[in-house]
Symmetry: C2
Subunit: 280 residues, 2 copies
């Protein structure tokens, strides 16, 4: 019989994950606090069925995925643990991992819980934008808690592979430090750049500006939680970046073009490395 998967939260990530698991043969039941999200997920056949309360969602679940904003994940985890059969793995997909894994370690059944973060996304949000192919060839970080049982880690890895993604095991603290640099700071930079554009600037915009402001289209509600929970790492990274940018701008101002070229060449090398790593 098909594995029964419960997906809590049918936004871009939860909806995509539901659709991908359904294609891979699981029976997927979905839940979302938004009736509109439920309607869209059902209409797009991302789920087999939907329920309107957590008790129903979790009662017979063999695998549970939490894809809601990360502060909500922290709130819901104890209740989800209590309502889910004790041998069913519980995985989340939040963008910050230290506090999630901290809560997982204190659950009644901590051995079946594991942190997760798919490094995939879009500037669009909601089940309208969900795509079962979203995770293909993308890294999917897994951060076991201290108590996660090896068998549960194996089941989580297997889930990641069924999504077409690549499992990457990380410590939660390391995840949060690295993501501050590779994701959370770039989000703030994109928002700040875009927030300064006037209507008249758009006519003179090229493809580079579009790249640099695409992230600014992300959902602020999701980002508020991430920035609250990873505040220290984000602020530290942002200050280091602003020092780097200020030095570069002063080199431009003083006409020290060898210094400018050296930073640009270093950035160019990293950019080239990234293009090799990240499929379009």
């Amino acid at each position: 019989m098909a594995e029964r998967v419960a997906v809590l939260g049918l936004g871009l990530i939860g909806g995509s994950l539901a659709g991908a698991l359904r294609r891979a043969g699981s029976h997927v039941t979905g839940f979302d606090a938004s009736a509109q999200a439920v309607r869209v997920a059902a209409a797009r056949q991302l789920v087999d069925d939907c329920v309107d309360n957590l008790t129903q969602l979790l009662a017979g679940a063999q695998l549970v995925v939490l894809s809601v904003p990360v502060l909500t994940i922290l709130d819901l985890l104890p209740g989800v643990d209590a309502l889910t059969p004790p041998d069913a793995p519980i995985l989340d997909t939040g963008s910050v991992k230290r506090q999630v894994v901290g809560v997982m370690d204190r659950l009644v059944n901590p051995g079946r819980a594991i942190g997760g973060h798919p490094l995939a996304g879009s500037d669009r949000s909601g089940p309208e934008a969900a795509d079962p192919e979203l995770f293909c060839d993308r890294p999917f970080v897994l951060t076991p808690c201290r108590q996660t049982q090896p068998a549960m880690l194996e089941r989580a890895k297997d889930l990641v592979l069924r999504l077409g993604a690549r499992p990457v095991i990380m410590e939660p603290e390391e995840h949060d430090r690295v993501l501050a640099r590779t994701s959370h700071l770039p989000q703030l930079v994109s928002s700040a750049l875009a927030s300064r554009l006037g209507a008249g600037d758009l006519a003179a915009a090229g493809p580079g500006l579009k790249d640099m402001t695409r992230l600014a289209g992300s959902d602020p509600r999701m980002w508020k939680d991430i920035l609250v929970l990873n505040r220290e790492n984000v602020v530290g990274e942002a200050r280091a970046f602003m020092a780097e940018l200020a030095a570069l701008v002063e080199a431009v101002n003083r006409g020290e073009m060898e210094q400018v070229e050296s930073v640009m060449r270093r950035g160019g090398a990293a950019s080239a490395g990234l293009r090799e790593q990240v499929a379009v």
Copy 2:
């Protein structure tokens, strides 16, 4: 008989422009100081023929396009004017316009000169990356000099339309101010962001980081000229941006999430406006 176009510089922009005009029925002769660029442009049939000196390139030209780094445009303009039949328009494609148009105004035949800047590009460079479709549906800014004759402006507009692009007439000073915000600052930001990435960061990189560091792959030699010539506007824009970002980061640090959300919503609106304006 086909119009004879001379293209000076067969990089990404010059090569793309040559290829597009050739497709549109012009006879395109190319010149580049790099023998390798000439070979690639010829092999890719971006040009009808190539010559190895400016005298030969310009002698019978009916339209001249300068697509070299912008400091080189300033150096070459008087000589190009002297070698080109006086009724042939001379257009450049440099990313800074004030000084270019200043030199154009002091030519022996200033009435046939006009500044240009196609708002198209790629993180790749050279004739290897040239694409005759590069300008399709893109803005192509024209900045007449004080002396540009109306008939020459019309011929330049006609050229832009033949490339599939949209002519946008601007004052050179306005162009340089706007481009500092929409292109030159984003380039510095992208380079600074990318320059801070370590090898270990790449494994945890998502599509957002790739967007934010794509510009960092641009050619530093071309950018040095742009930053030297538009220094004041770029430094002014960069300082205003850094103040905006610093305020946003301090709001994150103090947990003032309403302030953070307000900046993100403003950025999101600009990002949405841009997506409507700029075709992928």
